[in-house]
């Protein structure tokens, strides 16, 4: 069976499907010259977007004196290393970074794979009840889970999972949005003829998923993983409810701990806040374009 698949997989069929869409999009947009007022307004928006994060760094690199001076200090200093070291001393920051990485990465990777698999089933396989089940997936997207935190907490405590990392990981794995997202991508990019060919060669749907389906939607799964990683990394409420011991805290919960010192040492809080965002900033620096494209793509299809 691998012969047919290997021969057929090379880019051409998918590319042929993706191309026209890309071309069409490149043609979109208003016509005419872009005047300087447009750039001025856009730069203003960029300034607003970036300033709070920049200001965090200013305070964290100058010290608390940055805010008490008049006029307030608006450019960074050289004390960031000292303040960062103090953050690591005051709270188990390194441990919390590790916890956040473990939780976010696990949820992101498993979600991307599970959603690709479910999306594949919904997009490409025929089975009784498919439409009804997919409707349920869609409906769950509109009900915020947060309304039922109390029973959720009860279930976690019946499972004896309070104050464990799996209390955050396992409930996070069910992503209705992810299934919706992967189904859209599967149905637009996965070639039916290719699947038929593989079937005739005796491949079962599991093999088809791993050999053809997943490779084709890997970029979309990557973006889904990124979005999931970001939202789990930044989640505050649920970890705040289920985690009790400091050695299990995620970065966001440690920020709350640091805040207890806010009136004493503001630089500490801002240093922690900045460092909690830094890993995402670094990732974003490298894959930001794909994330932007992914979000816009999702809007386009949704």
């Amino acid at each position: 069976m691998s012969d047919v698949i290997d021969q057929a997989v090379p880019q051409s069929p998918q590319e042929a499907l993706v191309r026209p869409q890309l071309n069409r999009r490149r043609h979109g947009g208003r016509v005419g010259k872009v005047g300087w007022p447009v750039y001025a307004l856009l730069i203003g928006a960029v300034f607003i977007s970036v300033f709070p994060l920049y200001y965090m760094f200013v305070i964290a690199s100058v010290g608390a004196s940055a805010v008490t001076s008049i006029p307030p200090r608006l450019y960074p200093g050289f004390n960031f290393a000292d303040i960062a070291a103090k953050v690591f001393e005051t709270v188990p920051f390194f441990q919390s970074l590790l916890n956040s990485v473990i939780v976010s990465l696990t949820v992101a990777v498993i979600t991307a794979i599970l959603c690709a698999l479910a999306g594949f089933a919904f997009a490409k396989l025929q089975f009784p009840g498919r439409n009804a089940l997919f409707l349920i997936v869609l409906l769950t997207m509109t009900v915020p889970a947060q309304l039922s935190v109390i029973p959720q907490y009860l279930i976690i405590s019946w499972l004896d999972w309070v104050d464990t990392l799996q209390a955050i990981i396992v409930p996070g794995l069910a992503s209705a949005f992810g299934i919706f997202w992967m189904r859209q991508h599967m149905s637009t990019t996965l070639n039916d003829e290719l699947m038929q060919a593989a079937r005739i060669d005796g491949a079962n749907s599991w093999q088809i998923f791993w050999r053809i389906g997943f490779p084709v939607v890997r970029p979309a799964a990557f973006v889904l993983g990124l979005i999931t990683f970001t939202s789990v990394w930044n989640d505050f409420m649920w970890p705040f409810i289920v985690l009790k011991s400091p050695e299990l805290f995620t970065v966001q919960i440690v920020l709350k701990q640091l805040q207890a010192n806010r009136t004493i040492d503001l630089a500490l809080t801002m240093g922690g806040s900045f460092m909690a965002t830094l890993p995402l900033l670094i990732v974003f620096f490298f894959v930001g374009r794909r994330m932007v494209a992914g979000i816009m793509d999702g809007a386009f299809k949704g």
Binding site: G29, V31, V149, P151, I155, F236, F300
Partner: protein, 321 residues
């Protein structure tokens, strides 16, 4: 189940009549149950951690439920108490106040920015898009902490700027509207770039000829914005309103972290306590799981009502087109 399962090959046969039906009927049992296995993880996890808790909220809300004491059935007493509770209505007003003053300006700003970014000849388009997404990757917790500082009554940047214009310092968090402004600005800041990208995606899907024709007819940028951009984005605008509503009903971290001195009430007078924070206060602060669940049920009803309103608005606009 077997009867329905064998129905599929018939469908396939109808589509591809050239193929002998035998081949498809031979599909082994494993292949027929496989799709269910592929979607099972979601449904199992959703059933345990999503659907069951949702239904169970209604049950717990009928009890005087103490997590470490006993559980007594009290019927609808929690709801009677809820409707008479000033703190609940206060949280209700705060939630909608924050929602209104954050969503409306935010979406208008996003619309305008998307219109600007939609120039086909814009330079550094990718830089602008990425920069607008920086707030989205910044956590709510970090946002709340830095905004608390920017709006600080003594050393905040906002008050420093007001002072330049001769306006006396404002203690934002001490008043209801003031604290709404602080929290709304955090919500706005975090989401305006994201919504801009959604709108931009919608705009880029439009045929360029539409704008070309408008330009030829002599329509100015503003006229294009009013007559082309806004009407064609209507479905996405409705979508973002729904998402903002659902997000707005869940605001929790901002009020919790912005006024740390007052704990779970967000200010001594509960100036900025939202429904989600009130739920948390009752459930995990007071350990009144039953009463807290009643707040959850109320929130659920609000979500359903708001969704229905949105649904009717959507169908009406569709008819109007």
């Amino acid at each position: 189940m077997t009867a329905t399962a064998t129905a599929i090959p018939v469908q396939k046969k109808a589509r591809r009549s050239d193929r002998p039906p035998r081949q498809v009927i031979r599909q082994p049992l494993a292949e027929r149950v496989a799709p269910y296995l592929y979607i099972a993880p979601f449904f199992v996890i959703f059933a345990i951690f999503g659907l069951f808790p949702l239904l169970f909220t209604f049950y717990v809300a009928l009890f005087d439920w103490n997590p470490i004491g006993e559980q007594t059935f009290v019927g609808l007493a929690n709801f009677e108490r809820l409707f008479a509770d000033q703190r609940f209505w206060n949280a209700f007003v705060n939630t909608f106040g924050i929602f209104l003053i954050s969503t409306i300006p935010q979406l208008m700003l996003a619309l305008g920015l998307a219109h600007l970014l939609n120039h086909a000849t814009l330079k550094m388009a990718n830089f602008f898009r990425m920069a607008l997404l920086v707030p989205y990757i910044t956590s709510v917790a970090a946002t709340a902490l830095v905004f608390a500082q920017i709006f600080d009554k003594n050393f905040g940047l906002i008050n420093w700027m007001l002072d330049i214009f001769g306006i006396p310092a404002v203690n934002f968090l001490s008043s209801q509207v003031g604290s709404w402004i602080v929290i709304s600005s955090m919500v706005m800041w975090r989401w305006f770039g994201y919504n801009t990208l959604l709108y931009l995606a919608g705009l880029q899907a439009l045929p360029r000829e539409m704008y070309e024709a408008a330009s030829v007819d002599g329509a100015s940028g503003w006229q294009q914005f009013i007559h082309l951009t806004i009407p064609s984005l209507r479905p996405i605008i409705i979508f973002t309103v729904i998402m903002s509503t659902i997000g707005g009903l869940q605001i929790f971290t901002e009020p919790l972290l912005v006024a740390p001195e007052s704990g779970l009430t967000c200010g001594g007078g509960r100036q900025c306590q939202t429904l989600a924070l009130f739920l948390y206060e009752q459930g995990f602060g007071q350990f009144e799981f039953g009463y807290g669940s009643a707040v959850g049920v109320a929130l659920f009803v609000i979500v359903v009502v708001v969704s229905l309103i949105n649904f009717f608005l959507t169908t009406r606009t569709r008819k109007a087109r």
